[in-house]
């Protein structure tokens, strides 16, 4: 359908150049992960590349880590993982629920309003995260707030808003106002038109936003580093102490497992929400 964008046959130098650049992009994204994955199957304790022989021994260690009680950290890795998932799911839901209607309104409003709001919702991206982390901590402590898990959820929501909103806005840009007007002229209320007509059309953008929110929250470190408490901690915090103290193939195996975990979460969200119009 979109073949004209990137002609497959008879594309000549254009297709070649585009494909070359895409391959470079893929390499940039994947090389470190590929190396880490290969190393995690090394049979040796030493981290020389390439490994001399391969084994699953580090994955057995990881299995033991997730199944046995672990005293090397405030929270066991399974507790931290559970917290991370809870936080990420809350963040994902909240950010999407607030961004979809906002994107809809912004796409239909004047340029000035739209640009102003877009800038406001880009700001969380602009702030040095370290500063933001300490500001959130100082505020929470000076107000003596008992927030529980929300002390991590609230900052995370702010951090993912730029991504979710941009993706929703991107999805709105293809939906012309005539579509709703048609629905309204057929007797639907504006809210109904939004729900029945616009939302389904926004689905790919919403889904991209959801997945970004999920991944970013699940893997966020810097702000969480200030906001976590000894009782409520996340997987990246656990992973940090682990990596700082020992960078052995077992650590790499854990990273690979975390990547798989992310992928499962992504696919799950994709299946649950997208139905046929999935992102992948």
């Amino acid at each position: 359908m979109k073949t004209a964008l990137l002609p497959g046959r008879n594309g000549g130098s254009f297709t070649f150049a585009i494909r070359l650049l895409a391959v470079i992009g893929i390499l940039v994204c994947a090389l470190p992960v590929a190396i880490v994955t290969i190393m995690s199957f090394s049979a040796s304790e030493f981290t020389g590349f390439p490994p001399q022989s391969f084994s699953f021994r580090w994955y057995q260690d990881v299995w033991a880590l997730f199944t046995a009680a672990d005293a090397s950290s405030a929270q066991s890795v399974s507790e931290a993982t559970l917290t991370s998932i809870t936080v990420a799911v809350l963040v994902m839901i909240i950010s999407t629920v607030v961004c979809v209607p906002l994107a809809y309104v912004l796409a239909r409003s004047e340029r000035r309003v739209r640009e102003g709001m877009e800038t406001l919702f880009t700001l969380p991206l602009v702030f040095p995260l370290v500063m933001l982390g300490i500001a959130f901590l100082l505020m929470a402590e000076s107000l003596k707030l008992e927030l529980g898990i929300w002390r991590i959820v609230i900052p995370h929501v702010a951090l993912v808003l730029p991504f979710v909103l941009r993706n929703c806005l991107g999805a709105m840009s293809g939906i012309h106002v005539e579509v709703e007007e048609a629905a309204v002229s057929l007797g639907a209320s504006p809210a109904r038109a939004f729900w029945d007509v616009v939302i389904p059309m926004m689905k790919p953008g919403i889904l991209a936003g959801l997945i970004f929110a999920l991944i970013i929250s699940f893997n966020e470190f810097t702000v969480t580093f200030f906001m976590y408490t000894i009782d409520i901690s996340t997987l990246p915090i656990w992973m940090y102490s682990r990596t700082v103290s020992s960078l052995d193939p077992a650590t790499l195996a854990i990273s690979v497992v975390i990547i798989l975990f992310d992928l499962v979460l992504i696919l799950l969200v994709d299946r649950l929400i997208a139905g046929r119009a999935n992102l992948f």
């Binding site: 981290t47 005293a71 090397s72 003596k144 102490s241 103290s245 960078l247």
Partner: protein
């Protein structure tokens, strides 16, 4: 008569010594299960030294007393200080182990409680120089020591002077501690002494350090990255840096290429680390004191010294023969003349200025 008194004194101190030696066992028997259900929240380093605390102090303490130690193992000393300052009068922790400077700063902010020394009988066995600090707010823990780290493939014999860092042969193959670590202040000191001063001649030292700017491969922000660079033979030398990170590597130079030396003309650096207790901490005082006392136990000190190559401060620290012979573990009596122990007041005074200059000159 003199003889008698002397004898008497001897007898008394002998008895005290014997009592002190027997103390851990007595305490352990008395404490067994007595702290059941009590919780202690511990904040410590994220690196391997923190991990060792969990394995060699927290775990056996839990087994001996029935208390539960909940450990938070994240950050460096300065990150801990930042977090505790932000938490103010609502600390989440009962006990924190950290470097000397951190204890002094937090005590200065009025955030620390003064532990009751009477509840810490093991202090009796601790070298008097290292019992307390930070105006009574810090209880001595272990000695952090720093010297030169070198590549055993490049150096047939350990380097004997910091001058080696300036050897053109190591261009692009050397590292320095990051500005944010106290080891950077040691490096400035070492450079000053190399130039013939007493270490406080910072201006000269900065000019000399500046020469290394383009020869530096990296700063040692990440100890595991440094060991990987040694392993792959990309680094020759670096310092002032602590062997504490590399207990495993230094035992296996054939694979790690790593060696460490304190026998340097300009001296090596020793810093007393502290255990501190924040004011209005959540846990119970008795459990907290029992824990601190436990960190000073002769056995615990010996095991920790061996695990992270820190110097034990308990004079009776029980160590294996290998640990006793280890050149990397500095016992208090070995400090001698070549150890530089900073005047904390002086360091507190120049710290900010030195950190800023060090960063500016080298990056």
């Amino acid at each position: 008569m003199t003889l008698k008194t002397t004898r008497r004194n001897l007898l008394i101190s002998g008895a005290a010594g014997a009592a002190a030696l027997a103390m851990p066992a007595v305490l352990r028997a008395a404490d067994h299960g007595s702290l059941k259900g009590k919780e202690i929240r511990l904040l410590t380093w994220s690196d391997n030294t923190g991990l060792a605390i969990l394995e060699n102090i927290a775990k056996p303490f839990e087994e001996a007393t029935g208390a539960k130690v909940i450990a938070d193992r994240t950050g460096s000393t300065s990150e801990m200080v930042a977090k505790l300052r932000a938490l103010g009068d609502r600390p989440q922790y009962d006990v924190i182990t950290l470097a000397g400077v951190g204890a002094v700063e937090l005590a200065g902010d009025g955030l620390l409680a003064k532990p009751d020394l009477n509840k810490l009988p093991n202090l009796e066995q601790v070298d008097p120089r290292f019992r307390t600090g930070a105006d009574g707010h810090g209880i001595g823990y272990l000695l952090w020591t720093g010297g030169l780290i070198y590549n055993t493939k490049t150096f047939s014999a350990p380097p004997t002077s910091y001058e080696q860092l300036w050897d053109a042969a190591h261009d692009g193959r050397l590292f320095l501690p990051p500005a944010t670590w106290t080891d950077a202040l040691d490096t400035i000191f070492a450079t000053g002494k190399l130039l013939g001063g007493d270490g406080t001649n910072a201006d000269e030292a900065f000019a000399k350090l500046g020469e290394l700017r383009d020869r530096l491969l990296t700063f040692g922000e990440n100890p595991t990255q440094i060991s990987e660079l040694f392993r792959s033979n990309a680094l020759d030398i670096g310092g002032v840096y602590a062997p504490a990170f590399y207990a495993k590597e230094l035992n296996d130079p054939a694979n790690s290429n790593m060696g460490a030396s304190y026998a340097v003309d300009e001296g090596f650096f020793a810093d007393l680390m502290y255990t501190i207790v924040p004011k209005s901490h959540p846990g119970e005082d008795d459990a907290v004191h029992a824990f601190i006392n436990y960190t000073l136990d002769a056995n615990v000190q010996g095991v920790m010294a061996e695990a992270v190559l820190n110097g034990p401060i308990n004079k009776n620290a029980v160590m294996s023969d290998a640990a006793k012979a280890s050149p990397f573990i500095i016992k208090p009596e070995q400090l001698g003349d070549s150890a530089v122990v900073h005047d904390k007041a002086f360091i507190a005074d120049v710290r900010e200025d030195w950190i800023a200059k060090y960063t500016q000159i080298l990056t």
